[in-house]
């Protein structure tokens, strides 16, 4: 069967071509019935929701919610601060007695070594990477021991203040400092091997 080419189709005349062109135009879209009324009703309802009395209530509600949120956050912050304060208060304070150092102690290389060791210990204990594997019980024992030795030092200093010639008290002071130094050095060495 022979293929028909449009260029060689029968001439259907200008009317038919015009009609095809008109058919190809987009059809006119008209709004659905009563759409304008529906739009007006919607606008009216929206305007009612924004009436002055309702807007005030909404603002009050929002303010109340914001106030409640702020109060809650403040309460949480307060609990955190109090908890932290309690932890700091209850925690051993190894350096608590160091302001009581006498002039002779400030010059004593053993005392300086102990103070240096204490600072090193505190830095290490607060280093989350270094102290990650340290058993809690061991850390607590070291802190408790440092506190105990500082209490002992304070007691000895009191005795020396009353009687500067007390050789036993002076010897005790030296012995306690040596214990502190060895405690810190050995503890750090052991814990760092873990």
């Amino acid at each position: 069967m022979m293929r028909t080419d449009d260029r060689f189709s029968d001439d259907v005349g200008p009317d038919a071509a015009l009609q095809r062109a008109l058919d190809a135009l987009p059809t006119e879209r008209t709004l659905p019935a009563q759409s304008w009324e529906k739009l007006q009703d919607a606008m009216h309802a929206n305007a009612e929701s924004l009436a002055p009395s309702d807007a005030r209530a909404t603002v009050l509600r929002l303010r109340a919610a914001r106030g409640f949120t702020i109060a809650t956050l403040a309460a949480v912050l307060g609990v955190v601060v109090l908890d932290r304060h309690a932890a700091l208060r209850d925690a051993p304070q190894p350096l608590s007695a160091t302001p009581l150092l006498g002039a002779a102690e400030r010059q004593d290389p053993r005392v300086l070594a102990v103070l240096d060791g204490m600072q090193t210990w505190q830095r290490a204990a607060n280093d989350p990477v270094r102290a990650a594997r340290w058993p809690v019980a061991a850390r607590a024992a070291i802190d408790a021991s440092l506190s105990a030795t500082e209490r002992a030092l304070t007691e000895v200093r009191g005795t020396l203040a009353r009687n500067p010639d007390d050789a036993v008290a002076r010897a005790a002071l030296t012995a306690i400092r040596e214990q502190q130094l060895v405690l810190l050095q050995r503890a750090m060495a052991l814990l760092d091997e873990l």
């Binding site: 594997r133 340290w134 058993p135 809690v136 019980a137 061991a138 607590a140 024992a141 070291i142 408790a144 021991s145 105990a148 030795t149 002992a152 007691e155 000895v156 005795t159 007390d166 036993v168 008290a169 010897a171 005790a172 012995a175 306690i176 214990q179 060895v182 405690l183 050995r186 503890a187 060495a189 052991l190 814990l191 091997e193 873990l194």
Partner: protein, 306 residues
């Protein structure tokens, strides 16, 4: 039928939980010289190191979830043990080593027990308890928060705790023991050269001090109690700055009876001291020296009354 299914499910569940509680079984071995230097690591749980008469190291036991076994080195030097972080359960390891090995053990929170080895032993524990027994060349033991118990015949002991009790018994030629707040107990026959230091821990020494030995105790607040046999020869030099000295000593050969030690005590202010020789003055008298700041001193050297 449903009841049988339930029983099967229960037994499977029980088997699974029991296996979990017992941990993952492990068994490893290494070749080692009889005098090898062996270092053992144990983070948690427990480790028993026992000497045997083979030239190898054997590790068996169960591992906590999260821990693995490692080991390596040469026949002359080995390093082995558990590593990692236990998330569930506790490792229980038993390690056999040549009995003449030189042993080092490092423990995090693991309980450590050493027995049947004769070489040098060096144990460091952060939070675990330590127990050493046997006939050893020397013992070094440290525990920060755990207790240490040594029951051994050895020429040398160095032991230190922070808060834990230190308990030493046996035949010991020389010992240096110290603690910050832990009690120190020593008993032995005979005691050689013994030095004890503590801040607040109580000290209790019981036994005969050898003629070539000595006893040197220093505390800050810890009370000191010394129990000697009635015929002990010794030169006592005891002093407390703000406490009391009490006790009893018996009459020894050539001496009159001393029913109460109070008659020997000297007081200077708050300082209380006692200097006295026990036993016959012609025989060797090892020195017994005690210095304490505010600890009470008690010395007993008498036969048991019946």
């Amino acid at each position: 039928m449903p009841r049988a299914g339930l029983l099967v499910a229960i037994s499977l569940w029980h088997g699974a939980t029991t296996a979990h509680a017992q941990g993952r079984a492990v068994s490893r071995g290494w070749r080692a010289a009889v005098t090898a230097a062996i270092k053992v690591h144990a983070p948690t749980g427990s480790v028993i190191v026992e000497g045997w008469d083979r030239d190898s190291v054997d590790l068996t036991g169960a591992l906590a979830e999260g821990e693995t076994v490692f080991g390596g080195g040469s026949a002359a030097g080995l390093k082995l043990g558990a590593e990692g972080t236990a998330v569930r359960g506790a490792s229980r390891l038993v390690i056999h080593v040549p009995w003449r090995a030189r042993l080092t053990v490092r423990s995090g929170a693991a309980e450590v027990e050493i027995r049947g080895v004769t070489g040098t032993v060096d144990i460091g524990a952060a939070a675990g308890n330590v127990m050493v027994s046997g006939e050893l060349e020397s013992v070094i033991a440290e525990s920060i928060s755990g207790t240490i118990r040594i029951a051994a015949t050895t020429r040398s002991v160095r032991a230190r705790t922070t808060r834990g009790t230190l308990d030493v018994a046996g035949q010991i030629a020389e010992a240096q023991l110290s603690s910050v707040g832990g009690e120190i107990h020593v008993s032995g026959q005979p005691l050689g050269r013994l030095r004890i230091e503590t801040i607040d821990g109580g000290v209790h020494v019981a036994g005969r001090v050898a003629a070539s030995g000595s006893l040197d105790i220093e505390t800050f607040g810890g009370a000191v109690r010394i129990e000697l046999p009635a015929d002990q020869q010794a030169t006592l030099d005891l002093r407390t700055s703000s406490a009391e000295i009490t006790g009893h000593v018996d009459a020894s050969a050539g001496r009159s009876a001393i029913p109460n030690i109070q008659s020997l005590i000297t007081r200077t202010g708050s300082v209380v001291s006692l200097v006295h020789t026990l036993g016959a003055p012609t025989r060797a008298a090892p020195p017994i020296t005690v210095r304490t700041f505010r600890g009470r001193i008690t010395i007993e050297a008498q036969r048991q009354r019946r």
